[in-house]
């Protein structure tokens, strides 16, 4: 029954989706904390003209060439979004939407050109749109692992700066850090993490791979380091389990399965993560109500009590309210 575990194709696919989950999970932490969750969605769409241009210029369908093309276009798209929001009154959501749609449209136009070329069996390009983990080759996975390692190495190198940039950009500026350049660097890493995953899960689902592991990890810890590691772990877990499930069940596409796994991890985390989990919140609420009822039945209780007794202190709202959430920047 577990024969499929020995299958080398499956091993390749699982390694690919695990790498994608790990890298996009870790970088996604920063995207989510910086309120750039939808950047993943926009950038994965914006990368299409880069893929088409890379193919048109080199005639090569090698993974590395296409990924670098995608990264370039995604990167330009990000800079355009940042430029528009910085210098006009257009808000970030609208800027993302416009860049997403017009870059993607340009990519489509370029793809129709490519279709007319004699050497263009389009298969290799189409998989960037919808993601076909099943067609991942060992060489693709090597590229993914290599680029992923570079991204994570740069992340480790600038860890302190990125942490400061995420939580207190003003302080970073005051300390004389090149804030704008760091901003561009971090965004570049996020874009790279996105394009690494494109050929496995496709443009639509890549945004889940960025957001979900980080949103889940956020529930378990308040520390940036732990959150990043945990997000990487969750992402890899979703990648591997998604690959296995889609291999075990016939006609189960890999990309969407990975997204469903990601979502299950998020739902479980939202419910049962210690302290923040919704289940514990409900339990705490009941306990407090019980305490209040008990206190009211206690003959020595009076509404005018000065609040030094145990009952009153536990009635204070839990320290972790909605506003203390997420390391707000504002």
């Amino acid at each position: 029954m577990f024969d499929f575990l020995l299958d080398s194709t499956l091993r390749t696919i699982a390694l690919g989706t695990a790498t994608l989950g790990l890298v996009s999970g870790m970088l996604g932490t920063f995207a989510v904390l910086r309120r750039q969750s939808l950047l993943g969605d926009a950038m994965s769409h914006a990368s299409l003209p880069g893929i088409a241009a890379a193919f048109m210029l080199t005639g090569s369908k090698a993974s590395l060439v296409l990924v670098l093309g995608a990264a370039t276009a995604g990167w330009i798209g990000t800079l355009v979004v940042m430029g528009i929001t910085r210098s006009t009154r257009v808000k970030d959501d609208a800027a993302l939407g416009i860049v997403l749609a017009s870059f993607f449209g340009l990519g489509l136009v370029m793809l129709t050109f490519i279709q007319r070329r004699p050497d263009a069996a389009q298969a290799g390009l189409n998989r960037f749109l919808f993601g076909q983990a099943a067609t991942l080759l060992v060489s693709d996975v090597v590229v993914m692992v290599g680029l992923g390692a570079v991204v994570l190495a740069v992340l480790a190198l600038f860890w302190k700066e990125f942490a400061l940039l995420t939580f207190d950009p003003d302080l970073a500026h005051t300390l004389g850090l090149p804030v704008r350049r760091l901003d561009v660097l971090l965004t570049t890493l996020i874009v790279l993490a996105i394009v690494i995953g494109l050929q496995a899960v496709g443009v639509v689902l890549m945004s889940a791979a960025i957001v979900a592991p980080a949103a889940a990890a956020r529930q378990w810890t308040d520390r940036l380091g732990r959150m990043t590691l945990l997000a990487g772990l969750f992402g890899a877990l979703a990648g591997v389990s998604g690959a296995l499930v889609s291999a075990a069940i016939p006609r189960m596409p890999t990309g969407p399965t990975v997204v469903v796994m990601d979502s299950i991890i998020v739902i479980v985390s939202l419910l049962v993560a210690p302290e923040r989990g919704l289940v514990w919140r409900a339990v705490r609420f009941r306990q407090q109500r019980q305490r209040l009822v008990d206190a009211m039945h206690d003959p020595s209780w009076s509404p005018m009590a000065s609040g030094h007794d145990e009952g009153a202190t536990t009635l204070a709202p839990p320290a972790r309210g909605r506003d203390a959430d997420h390391g707000e920047r504002s």
């Binding site: 969605d41 006009t88 808000k91 957001v211």
Partner: protein, 381 residues
């Protein structure tokens, strides 16, 4: 121009205008990316309705799409209300999940049906004229045209009937609630409109162009006007222009129509972004340089006012920490404006300059109310 070409353009224009109407409110409410989310999740509604009904032409599809659109909004809102994830992350969590479920359902249970993900994302406007809408033996034109014409009509009626409610709920939700205008209901109406528009548009133009048409023209119009009404009709016009321009671009290049329209939207936005009269990049740069100049003039006259004897131009720049070139330019400008005059080698204030200097020192913050600043766009975020 053949009849088919005319029909394609007509469909494109109707889709563009129908999308622009709810799009204006999405952009103003900073929920532009809900169009992206709903544009993808309507697929789930279509799949579910298809399983129940068994064909792709049933009116149940519209109901399914509207319900899933509302479900998307509801899930995002619920997630946000837990306080555990922020809104942008909530959108990024919900729509890929619903879209994934739809894709899994299609590939497992409906592999042989004409319901492929490519068509949802990309659409194909070129085939619109071949799919006719016929009733009692009469040809009412392309199916997509009838479909989107209806959606357009619904959207126009929605705005006409609830203009005041939409306006207040968009710009001041607290006031709307206080007036008993139920912003929640308005929100639900808007999201229903987005869902039905996305459903109607997706098989004609694909979900990406839906995003482009809902966000692009309204954002472009947002740079050109301050009025809600102006934004509505300008968005419609820009959308229609992009649709026709995009069609001919596609015709000239023999490329994807949806892709060309989306590219044209981007191009129109880029042009307006550069040239818009008060919110454009060039206007902003011009305003900044004018502000810098008038501030420099104020500093100049204040400096000269403190130094009654006048001052030579070369000493002046050094004293203010200005470069030689900048000093020359500012002095020349101030001379032209009649604020200073040259007396042999020295620079002295004219009566006008002196009165400006004294006014400045009395009202140090006058610049805050200066016309040049009032025109500046409010800081975003």
């Amino acid at each position: 121009m053949t009849a088919a070409q005319l029909e394609i353009q007509l469909v494109a224009v109707v889709v563009a205008v129908a999308c622009a109407i709810p799009g204006v409110f999405l952009v103003l409410r900073r929920m532009a990316l809900m169009s992206d989310a709903i544009g993808h999740t309507v697929l789930l509604g279509i799949v579910l309705a298809f399983f129940i009904q068994g064909d792709l032409d049933s009116p149940l599809l519209a109901v399914g799409a509207a319900l899933v659109g509302l479900l998307t909004t509801l899930m995002v809102e619920m997630l946000r209300r837990t306080g555990l994830v922020r809104e942008d992350a909530a959108i990024g969590l919900v729509f890929p999940l619903l879209f994934s479920i739809a894709v899994i359902l299609i590939s497992r249970y409906a592999g042989d049906v004409h319901l492929d993900t490519d068509a949802v994302l990309l659409g194909e406007l070129a085939f619109a004229p071949f799919n006719r809408f016929e009733l009692v033996g009469l040809d009412f034109g392309p199916r997509a045209l009838v479909q989107m014409g209806t959606v357009l009509l619904v959207n126009v009626m929605l705005v006409a009937l609830f203009y005041k409610e939409l306006k207040i709920a968009t710009f001041d939700p607290a006031l709307a609630a206080a007036l008993g205008l139920a912003p929640g209901v308005v929100h639900a109406l808007l999201m229903t409109s987005v869902s039905i528009t996305a459903l109607g548009a997706f098989d004609a133009v694909g979900s990406i162009l839906v995003v482009g048409l809902m966000i692009g023209p309204p954002t472009t119009a947002y740079l050109l006007t301050e009025e809600l009404w102006g934004m509505l009709w300008l968005s419609g016009v820009i959308g229609a222009l992009a649709a026709i321009g995009g069609y001919w671009l596609a015709f000239a290049l023999d490329a994807s129509i949806a892709g060309s329209i989306a590219t044209t939207i981007g191009a129109i936005f880029a042009i307006v972004l550069a040239l818009a009269p008060s919110h454009g990049l060039i206007a902003a740069a011009h305003r900044r340089s004018r502000l810098r100049r008038s501030l420099a003039h104020a500093i100049l006259v204040a400096h000269l006012d403190g130094d009654a004897r006048g001052s030579s131009v070369s000493r002046l720049g050094g004293g203010l920490g200005w470069s030689e070139q900048f000093t020359q330019r500012i002095v020349l400008g101030a001379e032209r404006a009649g604020l200073v005059a040259r007396l042999s080698d020295d620079l002295v204030l004219t009566p006008r300059g002196r009165s400006l200097a004294q006014r400045r020192s009395l009202h140090e913050h006058e610049y805050a109310g200066d016309e040049t600043l009032r025109q500046a766009p409010p800081a975003s975020g």
